[in-house]
């Protein structure tokens, strides 16, 4: 089995369980984002891959070999730390060839490697600079080049872009993705920024409180969130709870909604993204999939219009574009339409 496999991995710090029993497969050559709020165990998971934390139980396999007990310095994985951790006493070039130099690679080969790596991260002719003279983005690139110097089997990054300003971060996200595609290296990035994960990842692993909630490509995470945590953490959503009232029908406060994949009986929660909700003026319509509501507030942001609605006592947010804006104002009675394919049934968190 090629790729990285977690087999029932657990990590405890004393009484506190940072990572609950987790089994996960990361296919080779993929760009994977570990996504979750701070303290969810994503960094601990990454540090266990690097060998910087020992797993309390379970195994980690790389291409079928058990690496759980191999010490960090024998794993040959490249890692970029959140604070980059460039060696302050070395120049850019010396930082980059550090892993080669300690393995006794010749000076000429080291020089060639520096040139190749600096070209790769688009930072040519910087080899002689002291690290302290670099800008944030340049330090970022040097840290990436240093981690890639060994041509590692795994490329690990712990919140690598969090120190950069928003504009630079976006361009680095795209650059990092292109770099990964060029090298075809299995890459695992820890991030709390869902936009970052959506931009870069082939596969997103959503975590909270030491548990993995969902593993899926970004678009699927957005369109088909598995539970309320994922639905709420990725983008914004409306969560509506109700009771199954017949085949494909859900009784909610104020009416009936239609949804696919409904279980036969019981109470469920559905997630409806704001941009999928359609609002029309007048409260006449009361067919299944449509509820009567009242406009409480309209926020016009220019590119989009957010409508805050009160539907049977519940706050519902809908978003539309200026061209589709219904002719309504605060206090008006409206019909709120929930298309069948927009109502995603959530499992237990």
């Amino acid at each position: 089995m090629s790729g990285l496999v977690f087999e029932s991995i657990v990590k405890k710090f004393g009484e506190f369980t940072a990572v609950h029993e987790t089994s996960l497969t990361i296919p080779q050559g993929k760009f994977v984002c570990l996504l979750g709020p701070s303290g969810c165990g994503k960094t601990t998971l990454l540090r266990m891959i690097a060998g910087l934390e020992a797993a309390t139980a379970g195994r980690i396999l790389l291409d079928g070999d058990d690496v759980t007990r191999i010490p960090t310095h024998k794993r040959d994985f490249g890692m970029v730390f959140q604070n980059l951790a460039l060696f302050p006493h070395l120049t850019v070039g010396e930082n980059i060839v550090y892993p080669l130099r300690i393995r006794g690679v010749s000076k000429a080969d080291c020089l060639a490697a520096v040139k190749r790596l600096l070209d790769l991260v688009q930072l040519p002719d910087m080899a002689g600079r002291p690290v302290s003279k670099l800008s944030g983005g340049q330090k970022q690139r040097v840290a990436i080049a240093r981690a890639l110097a060994l041509e590692p089997k795994l490329f690990l990054l712990d919140e690598p872009l969090s120190a950069l300003d928003a504009k630079l971060r976006e361009s680095m996200q795209i650059e990092l993705k292109q770099l990964q595609q060029k090298l075809g290296i299995t890459t695992i990035v820890v991030t709390h920024d869902q936009r970052e994960a959506m931009t870069m990842a082939d596969l997103v692993v959503v975590m909270s409180q030491g548990k993995v909630h969902q593993v899926a490509p970004p678009v699927e995470i957005y369109r088909k969130p598995k539970d309320a945590f994922v639905a709420d953490f990725i983008g914004s959503t409306n969560l509506i709870s109700g009771r199954i009232s017949g085949s494909g029908k859900l009784a909610v406060a104020g009416g009936t909604l239609l949804a696919d994949d409904l279980p036969a009986t019981g109470d469920v929660t559905v997630s409806v993204r704001p941009e999928n909700i359609r609002v029309t003026a007048g409260s006449g319509d009361n067919t299944p999939g449509c509820l009567a509501g009242e406009v409480s507030y309209i926020r016009d942001l220019g590119a989009s219009i957010e409508m805050y609605l009160s539907v049977a006592g519940q706050q519902i947010t809908a978003i539309t574009t200026p061209s589709d804006r219904p002719d309504i104002a605060a206090g008006d009675a409206v019909s709120v339409h929930f298309p069948k394919d927009a109502c995603v049934v959530l499992g237990d968190a």
């Binding site: 690097a50 024998k74 730390f81 959140q82 951790a85 006493h89 892993p99 981690a147």
Partner: protein, 283 residues
């Protein structure tokens, strides 16, 4: 923005520390410098004069040799202390908070021991009848107990014992501020624990190491009891001679001249360390 002091009252806040420095440092030191140029009166004390005799006498080979030995001993003590204390402190800063506190309290209590206690303690430990050599005999390393003091080794042991806690306390803040991810990144790049320590921790803290070396050196240069308690007369330092001249030979001017010289050596070393540190920071 920096506001420049304009009136006399703006300077009032530094009056108290300046006064203390004046009374307890500048004036006594000035008196010592003055005395170092005075003339000794045989059978009496000294009389005011302005002669260089005291400095001239100091430049003979006997006193020159002692000065050389004192500097060499202090340097060796500084190097050994830092070599022992640096890895120790590094490991200590990576331990649990409680362990750190216990060790620091222990080291502080060692620091509170007087030089006399340390000297007599070690001379007992190194003696033939009650000392460590009996343990070595029991283990089978030595054939029969022997006296390990007085000797150069005994002087070194006592002085390193005295300076070690001081060295740990000086290195502790710098080492506990060291970013642990520097070592972790070195490990992910393929260096083992020892190599990471030598390649990353030591160079990243070379400023602290140099300044600690100099501080311990200056501290050891003033040591005068331990060489007498644990060493032979050939292991006596300049500080011992200064005491001898001042108290037993009643030759204040000569003692003052030697003391001034010792202070100048210490000050120039501190100045060098400051210059070195400035250059490092500018880079």
């Amino acid at each position: 923005m920096k506001i420049k002091p304009r009136t006399f009252s703006d300077y009032a806040s530094i009056g108290f520390p300046a006064g203390m420095l004046m009374v307890f440092f500048v004036i006594p030191f000035g008196i010592m410098i003055a005395v170092s140029f005075f003339q000794r009166v045989q059978g009496a004390f000294y009389e005011p004069a302005f002669v260089f005799d005291n400095y001239a006498r100091f430049l003979t080979s006997f006193f020159g040799g002692i000065l050389g030995f004192s500097i060499g001993l202090a340097a060796l003590v500084a190097v050994v202390s830092v070599l022992l204390a640096f890895p120790f402190t590094y490991i200590l800063t990576r331990m649990a908070r409680r362990t750190q506190v216990v060790w620091l309290v222990f080291l502080l209590s060692v620091l509170s021991l007087s030089e006399v206690l340390i000297g007599f303690g070690w001379s007992t430990l190194l003696s033939r009848t009650a000392g460590i050599s009996n343990l070595l005999v029991a283990v089978g390393i030595l054939d029969k107990p022997m006296s390990l003091s007085p000797s150069f080794g005994a002087v070194m042991t006592g002085m390193v014992y005295q300076t070690f806690p001081y060295t740990v306390l000086v290195l502790f803040p710098a080492l506990s501020r060291l970013d642990p991810s520097l070592v972790e990144v070195a490990r992910t790049l393929g260096s083992g624990p020892v190599r990471s320590f030598l390649n990353v921790v030591v160079p990243a803290l070379r400023n602290s190491i140099v300044s600690t070396l100099i501080m311990v050196f200056v501290f050891a240069l003033g040591c005068y009891l331990l060489p007498q308690l644990l060493g032979k007369p050939s292991h006596w330092t300049l500080s011992v001679l200064i005491t001898d001249q001042a108290i037993y030979q009643s030759n204040m001017p000569f003692a003052a001249a030697m003391a001034v010289f010792l202070v100048l050596v210490s000050l120039s070393l501190v100045a060098i360390s400051l210059l070195y540190g400035k250059k490092e920071n500018a880079a």
